[in-house]
């Protein structure tokens, strides 16, 4: 027996869950979507993912090493998750230098300037994505079409996303029933056989990831279900009012980044609310803002903006929406 005994306050047991294990769990949940992107977009998807992950890790290391001068914590996995999500949110033919700039904005500006992990108000990957979208609008909106395990990268064949087809078509006075022939069928969209950002296309892969996140108890159902549910209800109402001007709810859920956003981006621990009541309100806000931007906004897709806008309200929501305490006195009339 060692002569020195530890004396510390209770509890003397720990659940063995760690930040690194949680981040590893998120990475595992992203793998199905990563494999389907490589399957559809081939070589380009590999280059984009590798560039984003490596540059996020390097930027985080450099800041911690030379500016924070604190122990290096890049192995906690959070920078890898940011890198993966950043890659998932861009087209697979995006030039390397733009990805590096996006990673810089994500890690250095959106995360480390606020103090690093746990302190950033906005989702770093989305800040990087929106920065790239605004700064490089052309490169960010040329979408490769799925071409199997192709070796094409910058030179890959491109086409419009279903959301852009609808947006453009409606602007040109066409009706949904005319446009429906130009967009993929729901089953094609479910399997990810359509143009779009590399990680957002395959609903099936994202849903597998969702199930894993729930089983592994990394996230709760509140945010994804309220995002998708509110979006479905809102688009159903619009569709019932005028099915010729508004796409059906199934299309809205499967097209674009709704699933990726609802399952992986909106649920980011650091930038989402801390209790179930606030989580549901936050999720509904994202769903409704997404529809508003898609239907009435200038951009065909609105998930990123919707999440970032709702991120800004999270501190207020944490302050004003409180869980009902155990034994809270019920006010009598």
């Amino acid at each position: 027996m060692s002569n020195l005994l530890s004396v510390s306050p209770s509890p003397h047991a720990h659940g063995k869950e760690t930040t690194r294990k949680l981040m590893t769990g998120v990475i595992v949940a992203l793998l199905p979507a990563l494999f389907t992107s490589i399957f559809y977009f081939g070589y380009g998807a590999v280059i984009v993912t590798a560039t984003a992950v490596i540059s996020c890790l390097v930027f985080e290391y450099l800041i911690q090493r030379f500016i924070f001068r604190k122990p290096i914590t890049i192995t906690d996995g959070s920078a890898i998750v940011t890198g993966l999500l950043l890659a998932f949110n861009v087209p697979s033919n995006l030039p390397v230098y733009i990805i590096i700039i996006g990673s810089f904005v994500s890690i250095v500006i959106a995360k480390m300037t606020f103090g690093g992990l746990g302190n950033n108000p906005f989702n770093p990957a989305l800040v990087g994505r929106v920065f790239m979208l605004i700064s490089f609008p052309v490169q960010m909106t040329i979408w490769p079409v799925p071409a199997g395990l192709s070796t094409g990268y910058i030179d890959a064949a491109t086409g419009a996303t279903p959301l852009a087809i609808i947006k453009e078509g409606l602007k040109n006075g066409e009706s949904i029933s005319q446009l429906v022939t130009q967009i993929p069928t729901p089953s094609q969209m479910f399997l990810g056989n359509m143009g779009g950002s590399m990680g957002e296309v395959a609903a099936i892969a994202l849903l597998i990831g969702f199930v894993w996140l729930l089983v592994r108890k990394i996230i709760t159902w509140h945010i994804p279900v309220s995002v998708i549910g509110s979006l479905a209800i809102f688009t159903t109402i619009l569709w019932l009012i005028n099915p010729e001007k508004n796409a059906d709810p199934m299309f809205h859920i499967l097209a674009g980044g709704v699933l990726l956003g609802a399952i992986f981006m909106a649920t980011d621990y650091v930038t989402s609310p801390m209790n179930p009541k606030a989580m549901i309100i936050y999720g509904c806000g994202i769903g409704i803002l997404t529809v508003i931007i898609r239907v009435w906004g200038a951009y065909p897709e609105g998930v990123s903006f919707a999440i970032l806008i709702m991120n800004a309200f999270v501190p207020l929501m944490n302050t004003y929406f409180k869980p009902k305490r155990f034994g809270e006195e019920v006010k009598n009339g």
Binding site: S2, S8, S10, P11, K322, R325, E329
Partner: protein
């Protein structure tokens, strides 16, 4: 199966001694019996150096209503009135007795006969609990006679008996239910008589199926006692959580179970009440679990109050080589000891020896706001926020966030993936807020 609705965690159970029959620890050569083994005013000592005492004799008398008698657990000569370290690490007054033989006071019935007939009136039962030094044996050590005295204007219609034992490792209540089931049920009937209620619910977690079966069978012979299995979840043994789980009654913040017409007693207390009322035996020994993953001979023992912890550790085969921490109580709420001279007291439910690789906390990392602490809190508090407010000294805000509701069950620190010392800061904040509130009253 019933359980409480909000929060909770599932620590590994590690009930290593669930199959070990309770044995009697040999009477030690000397004991140190603290005079403050209960919540309330310490008892005042009525013996002096060189007095001869018998086992079961009063050595310190209750002072005021919320207090309790202390009895000698051995026979022999008072060596000194001195100080002994207790579980908190502070020294406190104790009566030291050198043991000579084991002569019990004559009034104690030492036969094995089980006495079912209850002859005392409710008032006499309450008085006898006070005289026999009965306190809550679940760990809080609140004097039982106080709980049995329903304040005027309040009403009690339900007795809940706590056989949950939700703390990992501990098995003292489990073994007692298996080996002294009938005595416990008679004790419950005595408590029901004292409270004038005709309904008692015994809650036992489903990881003790043998105890559930045993007591359910025995309870058929008793009026008004029902046994309920509960889904395993920590902290189910907390009074308010147990009342919610069994009776769906929610004790309001800052109030007591009696405010929802309920009284809760532990199974160990029910057994002690049986012995006091039926056998005239005051509370001078209790069941203690000695356990740990590397302990060679873990077990459950009847231990005389005042026995040093080291005697119990020796009985279990001595210190394992890798011992890194000694904990009195369970791993979730127990206290780490800084000395093996600490005596076993009425509130000691177990002694756990942790190997050194489980004795150190993990490094504290930044909060990633995963909200697992919020989900784990059985009171729906926000531990991350309470910690930050305490850290920053914002105690008025912490008070509004109900920091004083916290029962310090430790679920938040247990679950935190960043290994943050949530409960340490919440304790600091809670103590400060309580002090602030007291000063406000004095002004």
């Amino acid at each position: 199966m019933k359980t409480f609705p909000i929060g909770g965690v599932h620590p590994p159970e590690n009930k290593l001694t669930a199959g070990s029959e309770i044995r009697y620890l040999p009477v030690p050569h000397s004991v140190a019996i603290p005079v403050n083994q209960h919540i309330g005013t310490p008892a005042s000592i009525v013996v002096k150096k060189d007095d001869r005492v018998k086992t079961g004799q009063v050595i310190a008398e209750n002072k005021g209503f919320v207090s309790s008698n202390i009895h000698s657990s051995v026979s022999g000569k008072v060596n000194k009135i001195g100080t002994v370290p207790d579980t908190t690490g502070y020294k406190q007054t104790a009566v030291f007795i050198d043991v000579e033989g084991d002569e019990w006071i004559v009034t104690i019935d030492r036969s094995d006969e089980i006495l079912t007939e209850i002859n005392l009136s409710p008032e006499e039962i309450v008085k006898k609990c006070l005289e026999s030094g009965i306190v809550g044996l679940g760990g809080a050590t609140f004097p039982s006679h106080v709980k049995l005295t329903v304040p005027s204007g309040k009403r009690c219609d339900l007795l809940i008996i706590n056989g949950v034992e939700c703390e990992p490792y501990l098995t003292s209540d489990h073994r007692l239910m298996l080996e002294r089931g009938e005595e416990i049920l008679i004790g419950v009937t005595i408590l029901m008589k004292a409270l004038r209620v005709n309904k008692a619910m015994i809650g036992i977690e489903s990881n003790k199926p043998d105890a559930i079966d045993h007591l359910t069978n025995l309870a058929k012979a008793f009026q008004g006692i029902t046994v309920y299995p509960l889904k395993v979840k920590y902290p189910q043994g907390a009074e308010k959580q147990l009342i919610k789980a069994l009776a769906k009654r929610e004790v309001p913040s800052g109030r007591l179970p009696i405010d929802v017409n309920t009284v809760v007693h532990n199974v160990g207390t029910a057994f002690a009440v049986y012995e006091a009322i039926q056998k005239n035996k005051p509370l001078f020994e209790r069941v203690v679990t000695i356990t740990g993953k590397s302990v060679s001979n873990p077990g459950n023992y009847f231990v005389r109050i005042g026995t040093p912890v080291k005697n119990l550790i020796e009985a279990a085969g001595g210190f394992p080589d890798d011992t890194g921490k000694i904990v009195s109580g369970g791993p979730m709420m127990g206290k780490a000891l800084n000395s093996t001279e600490v005596p076993i007291v009425k509130g000691t439910s177990g002694i756990i020896l942790f190997p050194s690789n489980e004795s150190k906390r993990m490094d504290s990392m930044p909060c990633i706001r995963c909200a697992k602490c919020v989900q784990a809190c059985a009171l729906n508090l926000e531990p991350y926020l309470l910690m930050t407010l305490s850290e920053m000294g914002l105690f008025e805000r912490a008070e509004k966030e109900r920091i004083t509701d916290c029962m310090e069950c430790g679920s938040c620190s247990f679950i935190c993936p960043a290994g943050r010392p949530l409960l340490d800061y919440i304790r600091l904040g809670k103590a400060t807020v309580i002090k602030m509130a007291r000063e406000r009253v004095l002004k």
